[in-house]
């Protein structure tokens, strides 16, 4: 299973036939492994890794730190539930350390996100304070090095 996940992580579009060859299994076995992983929620989905700049629809991403007053019985969940309802929010994490929740937010530009934080997040009941960190450059994203210069293979052909 570990190898299967690793291969799909590298390229989720590998066909079952290709995976079967690499994993030394039958196509049916691979299909079942994937189905089972999906059923159990081990595999939660498949994503496209997009270079937004090349797509021509520039996008800004920010990491928003939220300090939250925990609610009786449900702790941070109430606020987390509210935060993750917004389409602008890509991910929400409960964090250890000096703040409580981390939200990854995308928008068309800096102003877009600033408005979203000021109007939607900061005003949520239970949110004490926010800190917004904009991503300026992506060097590596989900294991993929984004700068093509860095991925050039400098090995020479050797016999």
């Amino acid at each position: 299973m570990e190898q299967l996940i690793r291969l799909l992580n590298e390229n989720a579009r590998l066909s079952n036939a290709q995976l079967a060859v690499m994993l030394n299994k039958t196509e049916d076995e691979v299909a079942n492994m994937i189905l089972e992983a999906e059923r159990q929620g081990v595999i939660r989905g498949y994503h496209v890794l997009v270079d937004q700049e090349k797509l021509g629809t520039p996008q800004v991403t920010a990491l928003i730190e939220l300090q939250v007053t925990p609610k009786r019985d449900r702790g941070f969940e109430v606020v987390a539930d509210a935060v993750m309802q917004y389409a602008e929010v890509e991910s929400v994490y409960l964090m250890s350390g000096s703040y409580d929740l981390l939200a990854v937010v995308t928008g068309a530009d800096f102003k877009d996100i600033a408005f979203f934080v000021a109007r939607k997040l900061a005003t949520l009941d239970g949110v004490k304070s926010t800190a917004t960190h904009f991503i300026l450059s992506r060097y590596k994203d989900r294991g993929v090095v984004m700068n093509e210069e860095e991925t050039v293979d400098r090995r020479s052909p050797i016999l």
């Binding site: 190898q3 590298e10 390229n11 290709q18 690499m22 090995r155 020479s156 052909p157 050797i158 016999l159």
Partner: protein
């Protein structure tokens, strides 16, 4: 003006230039070529090994080592050879550290070969053996291996090539470029031929960690073989350390003594920083080797399957990181196939005849690349074949 042609060593000038150089110079000058030509791992040297090298540089312990290599490294090599291959070599005088496996090959030939001595070279194989033999005025004698024998050396073929002048057998398994391996039973047959002779074997086991299906068996571990074998190995392929230039030879004392003398005059010692890094590799990297080996194995199955599917019959390699599909069905020579593939699809593979005449009709494809890279290259090769059919 100096007429260099007049003063250069005839022996050097006569050495066949690597025919493949020209081909790759063209490939390198083209934009966007997808190469399957490398002969080294695509993994980085494990981090803790690099860290050990950095630590050595930070401490500034960058002086020469003992000629034979750091005593601690030789101890670790001795332990490794025992742990992996059940071999017993005395770290003191039966192991020496060299500048890559290449230097160990060079030293073995130089310490043994007299003018006119015949050196048997199993082919197809790594390109350096015959030129080194020629530099010693030895006579390289190729023993071709065949696909129908799984590119193994058979006892009959070996016997048929032995003459009273045979001094050395170059025995390169797991094999570059075919990926062939010799299992214990095959080694026993070879040993039976050699045991009553004075022929020394240069057993180049640089790909010894990269076998699939069953662990590598060293020729030196077969009864009666240790006293007639120089075992060459190194860190390049197993630990992804090609640029560190570090290898070693293990063999009989009297032979090593001569090799060490030549080594001492030629290069003094192997790079010290690399030696410190290699100690870390041998001590703490067995798991890293296994992980890389598993990754290669996955790619190997995929590449073999893909070639067979597209109609280029491919022997299933059991070692190294190359496949060696036959391109005979295309009607092209190896060189023609590779040139046309490069021009039409910008994919670079190595013509099989670069590894000896018996490699004609084959191409060498390295799978030391990411799955995504391999998929793209294989797709283009398949397209190329379909267009060939239509022409």
């Amino acid at each position: 003006m100096i007429d260099y042609d007049r003063i250069l060593s005839k022996k050097a000038v006569r050495l066949r230039p690597s025919g493949i150089r020209k081909f790759f110079d063209i490939a390198n000058s083209m934009e966007g070529v997808i190469s399957l030509g490398v002969g080294e791992p695509d993994f980085k040297t494990p981090w803790q090994v690099r860290a050990a090298g950095i630590k050595n540089l930070e401490r500034g312990e960058t002086w020469y080592s003992a000629n034979a290599g750091l005593a601690e490294l030789r101890e670790e090599i001795s332990r490794y050879l025992h742990r992996r291959f059940r071999l017993s070599y005395d770290a003191k005088d039966e192991i020496m550290v060299t500048v890559g496996g290449s230097e160990a090959i060079d030293l073995t030939v130089r310490a043994l070969v007299e003018p006119g001595d015949e050196v048997l070279i199993v082919e197809p194989s790594f390109v350096a053996y015959a030129p080194i033999v020629s530099l010693m005025d030895g006579v390289p004698v190729a023993i071709p291996t065949r696909a129908e024998n799984d590119f193994r050396l058979t006892a009959e073929e070996l016997r048929a090539h032995i003459t009273p002048r045979t001094k050395l057998l170059v025995f390169p398994f797991p094999n570059n470029p075919t990926g062939a391996v010799m299992r214990r039973e095959h080694l026993e047959e070879i040993a039976a031929v050699l045991r009553d002779t004075d022929i020394i074997v240069l057993s180049d086991e640089i790909y010894g960690e990269l076998t699939y299906g069953a662990p590598h068996v060293s020729l030196a571990s077969i009864e009666g073989m240790q006293e007639r074998t120089v075992l060459v190995n190194g860190f390049s392929k197993a630990y992804a350390m090609t640029g560190w230039r570090l290898g070693y030879a293990a063999g009989p004392k009297p032979l090593l003594r001569q090799m060490l003398k030549i080594h001492q005059y030629a290069v003094m010692c192997a790079p010290t920083t690399s030696q410190y890094a290699a100690i870390e590799a041998l001590k703490n990297c067995d798991a890293d080797i296994r992980k890389m080996q598993q990754e290669y194995d996955m790619r190997r199955r995929f590449v073999v399957f893909s070639f067979n599917k597209m109609g280029l019959p491919c022997f299933e390699p059991q070692g190294a990181f190359y496949v060696f599909p036959s391109i005979a069905s295309t009607g092209l020579t190896s060189q023609e196939f590779c040139e046309q593939l490069l021009y039409h699809k910008k994919v670079a593979v190595v013509p099989g005849d670069a590894f000896g005449e018996s490699g004609e009709g084959y191409i060498r494809v390295s799978y030391s690349y990411s799955i995504n890279h391999l998929m793209e290259a294989l797709r283009l090769i398949e397209e190329f074949l379909q267009e060939l059919d239509r022409r």
